[in-house]
Amino acid sequence: MSKILIAEDDMTIAEIEKDYLEVNGFEVDVVLTEQLLWKLSRRANTTCFCWIS
C-alpha cells in the first residue's frame, strides 16, 4: 500500500485530502509544512556534519 505525506498548513484542506486518499486505499500522514522545514534544516546540518567527519 502506498503511503502519502501531506505537508499542509490548512488543516481543513489537509483533512479533505486525507479523507479522499484514504477512501482510495492510501495510507496518509499529515504534517504542518513548517514542521517539514524544521526537520529538513536539522537534516541539512546532520549531512554537513557527516561530510566533515
Binding site: 502506498s2 503511503k3 502519502i4 484542506i13 479522499y20 486518499l21 517539514l36
Partner: protein
C-alpha cells in the same frame, strides 16, 4: 521528514501557501533529499507559479479549489509512473551494465538516473533528467518546445510548453559553465532547442 528520508513515504503532497515561507524553496530542498514524487497543491492560479513549481522539482501540481477526484487521479498516476521508473532501474541494474553518455564534461548514467558534471554529481528532478537524456540521445537535432513537451510530459498532461523552457533553464544552471551563453543546450530562435555534440 526523518520518515521521508527513510523511504517510508511514496509521495509528498505539498501545499505552497505558507505564511512567511516559500513553498518553492521547500520543494527544492525536499527534492534535493528524496526522489519520491512531489505533488504541489497551490491556491495560486497564475501559470507562472505552476511553471515555477515544476521548475523547482515538483512532479505535478493541483490548483485549489481542487476536485478531489482529480487529486486522487494525479496521485495515482504519479505513483504509477514512479513505480514504473523504479522497476526499470532495478531490472536494468541487475541484468545489464548501465548505459553511459559522455559528452564533454558531462557524464550521464541513464539507468542509474545520475548526472555528473566535471566529476561532481548533480541532482536532477525526474522530468529534468528525462529531458536531458532525450536531448543528449538525439544530439544536433532541433526540437520545438511543443515536441519536447509531448515527448516528456505526454499529451494528457495539463500544462503548456512554457514548462519546457523552465526545465531547460534549470538544466542549464546545472550543466553549463555560463547558463546565459549555453554550450550544450542551445536555443534556436523561432525553432526550439538543440543539444550540441
Amino acid at each position: 521528514m526523518e520518515a521521508v528520508k527513510a523511504g517510508e513515504y511514496n509521495l509528498l503532497l505539498l501545499d505552497i501557501m505558507m505564511p512567511g515561507l516559500s513553498g518553492f524553496d521547500v520543494c527544492k530542498q525536499v527534492r534535493d533529499i528524496v526522489d519520491i514524487p512531489i505533488l504541489m497543491v497551490t491556491a495560486k492560479m497564475e501559470s507562472f507559479d505552476k511553471v515555477r513549481g515544476l521548475g523547482f522539482g515538483a512532479d505535478d501540481y493541483v490548483t485549489k479549489p481542487f476536485d478531489p477526484a482529480e487529486l486522487v487521479a494525479r496521485v495515482k498516476s504519479n505513483l504509477a509512473r514512479y513505480e514504473r521508473l523504479k522497476q526499470d532501474n532495478k531490472s536494468n541494474t541487475k541484468n545489464e551494465k548501465d548505459e553511459e553518455l559522455i559528452i564533454g564534461d558531462l557524464r550521464i548514467l541513464i539507468k542509474g538516473w545520475k548526472v555528473y558534471v566535471k566529476g561532481k554529481e548533480c541532482k536532477f528532478a525526474n522530468r529534468e533528467f528525462e529531458l536531458l537524456v532525450f536531448l543528449a540521445n538525439n544530439p544536433n537535432i532541433v526540437f520545438s518546445k511543443e515536441t519536447l513537451f509531448e515527448r516528456i510530459w505526454g499529451y494528457d498532461y495539463v500544462g503548456d510548453s512554457t514548462t519546457v523552457a523552465v526545465h531547460i533553464n534549470r538544466i542549464r544552471e546545472k550543466i553549463e559553465d555560463d547558463p546565459g551563453n549555453p554550450h550544450y543546450i542551445e536555443t534556436v530562435w523561432g525553432a526550439g532547442y538543440r543539444f550540441n555534440m
